[in-house]
Amino acid sequence: MSAAKVGASPWRVGGDGRVSGLQQYVADVHLPGELHAKLVTLPVARARILGIDTSAAAQVPGVRVVVTAADLPQPVPRYGPQFNDRPVLAVGETKYHGEPVAAVAADSKDAAEMAAHLVRVQYEELPAVFTLAAALDPAAPLVQDPALRPGDPLAATNVMRVHRVGWGDVDAERADLVIENSYSFPAVTHFAIEPHAFIAAPDGDGIDVWSTIQHPYWLQRILSRIFELPLSRVRVIAPDPGGGFGGKQQIKYEPVVAFMALRVGRPVRLVLTLEETFQAVRRAAAEVHVRTGVRSDGTLAFQDITADYLIGAYVDIADRVVNKGSYVAAGPYRMPAARIVARGVLSHTVPSTAFRGFGNPQVNWAVESNLDDAARALDIDRLEFRLRNLARKGEAFIPWDTPADGDWQQTVRRAGELIGWGTPRQRGHGRGIAIGIKSGPTTGLSYSTVRLLGDGSVIVLAGTSDMGQGARTVFAQIAAQELGASLDRVTVVMGDTAIVPYDAQTSASRSTVLMGNSVLKACRSIQAQLRTMAAVLNGVAEELIAVDSGVVRLPDRELTVLEVLRAGLGPLGGELIGNGETRKDAEPEHPLQGSPAFFEFNCTAVEASVDEGTGDVAIVRHVTVSDVGRAINPLQVRMQDEGAAIMGLGHTLMEHYIYDETGRVRNLGAVDYRIPTSMDLPLELHSEFVENADGPGPYGAKGMSEGALLCVSAALAAAVREATGAVVRDLPLSPERVWRALRERDRERAQGRDER
């Protein structure tokens, strides 16, 4: 294994377990006496439940419990990360295709499946609203019971909330040209290769819950409330998830599994099928209308944006997604005036939740595409147009908020260089360039405890969830760097609320910055203790001693941390313990409840060609450059950015939910929902990062991992447009959609000829 130092790329911590197959994901955990659970859902988008007969199901040999809403405490507990709107099991009505109405637990998977099929639900299918137009129609059925939002004037509509951000006076701002267009972004699903899995087991007078959850402490808090147990009696064990991307952030079916476990007094496990994950989590679809005002000197005058997000039947974290996603919609530009109105619109569909990018990709698709239109109308180079208007480092681009925290022009120029912007293009090739920006965390709280053991080895306790982004390795590198241990002598313990101190959540690319800083502070605390030890041992004043990177520097010589530690601990042995806390308190008056701790900034540039006969898009070159502050692990940074870029190609080229005319999802599962395979990669994909040590994290790091996904669509559609003249404003750019745009272009050209 190579050097552990920060800035190196050692083997991933936890990598051994992953390549050997020995790592235990939740579905690999088995408890003695466990039962297997299966959810019961209806094959319709929305239904009134008239009655449920569980008698046949209960008689299947091996079945231990069958639960419906009637078997739960009354009124049925409701929960959710933002609002307590979601019942543990459907009450009176199923509000989307896939909402569970009952659950079964049995000795075997087969028995549970058989029993689930035998639960007889009498229901009446109801009309469902599953498009923005339908949900916003004044005559639309209400998705949510208005009684859940007393006093809220919007409760009589399917609009959950309206978020308004603006400055200046858009209507008074002088613009020589106004470009106005509408864009749409489809509903897509996370499709982590590991389906969600949950196990609940009674533990004395408390409960242990295993979950693929990204936010173990948040889950713990909600379970504690639902089951009226103190936090100390709710243990959440969260093994490293097999991919999360936001889809495992929030509580899902843990409550119903826990109810069954407590009812029967035995562990109960539920592993979702892939189809069930599509019915559990997705990204909000959106329709975005953009009016961009520009001046003939190539400067931006205003952005006037309305963004409607189609969220699901329960809010989950979708309102926050709408709020945060739309907040920076005007982009990282010098913008005299802006008006952004974003709405979350409830619908009879799978609850939308957090998904890499968190509401930003939808508006970015629209706003960056519209900027291209504006540049074209002004006859200004699209890269030059962006550079000219980009906020400079230290400038606020949202007047009251965190200023630009990077040399963003450097990032954009580098992307331009890498794609060969401005150099001659092959016939039939086109290039596009787009910028993505996303707010980092606006509030946060991460504790870490670091233990320097008697032999110099280290244990780091950090409650972050490592779902592949490599948090374990980053924290191990920091501890190894600060305490002078080699990486193979650092153990990182995560994912157990009973052992590891509190971490608010793993989201918004925060962990390197927030938890990283906590790990750093904990190490610094240990370094202070070592300084004291060295002072006492050597009769030297503390102020004259420095400790860094595993070395204790006395005025006249240097000692290793291990030498001081051994001598200082003495024959009783022991360890040094350091605690670190990083806190970012809420600012209740702020539109996001807090200013962004940093920004993720990315520039993506693409060169593509199009098969004019079929509409197939071939990406010749895809470059992605992110402003990361400091790459604590360069290889992991590259992996995250390239992974994000390819994931972005998914919703750009091929991914979308397909609904039938009643609102049922038609393409559940892997056969008809297509994600990029190894054969769907750009001919060349190249990622780079800019490091100016200007982030708030350890060694100047910023968070990253979402940036490279944000603006893929706009860059690719721009390349397609330059290559062919075809205009697409709705994703995905499937071959058929591109083909239609090409034929539309042909018609317009023919008309143009006819009219001359």
Partner: protein, 158 residues
């Protein structure tokens, strides 16, 4: 009541005799009866490759095979790649090249890559992409996985 059948298979070099219900997949029997949980379950439709194992040297989706069909066969899973606690060159290459993120698709990728290199010791880039196209990776480590496979093919990891 489901019929039971006795099957004998050699799993990672070890002869195993099992009584299995005829309607159980090889995937389930490996994971549950043999407690070899390294092989993963995802789509259950032969689309994602997370359940890839080698049967008589051929890479296939174990979710699409009944356990009884493996009677008399040699089955290789990810747990059999390391020898005496030492990671195989392919496993090491995956770690070196950063071809592992969340790790859930990794066992399937390794088995598919193993079979690919056994049949074609010096594949081109396109052949690697094609040979592994049955293994979905949502973290999209594809570039790193390809690099790892090519590195082993070039003998860089002997």
């Amino acid at each position: 009541m489901v019929d039971m059948l006795s099957v004998v298979m050699t799993v990672n070099g070890r002869r195993r005799t099992l009584e299995v219900a005829v309607n159980r997949t090889l995937l389930d029997v490996l994971r549950e009866d043999l407690e070899l949980t390294g092989t993963k379950e995802c789509c259950d439709a032969g689309e994602c490759g997370a359940c890839t194992v080698l049967v008589n040297g051929l890479a296939l989706d174990s979710c699409l095979m009944l356990a009884v069909e493996a009677d008399g066969a040699e089955v290789s899973t990810v747990e059999g790649l390391a020898k005496d606690g030492k990671l195989s060159p392919l496993q090491q290459a995956f770690l070196d090249k950063g071809a592992v993120q969340c790790g859930f698709c990794t066992p399937g990728q390794l088995m598919a890559a193993q079979a690919l290199l056994a049949a074609n010791p010096h594949p081109t880039l396109d052949e690697v992409h094609e040979g592994l196209s049955g293994n979905l990776c949502r973290c999209a480590c594809y570039l790193q996985i390809t690099e790892a496979v090519l590195a082993v093919a070039e003998g860089a990891h002997e």
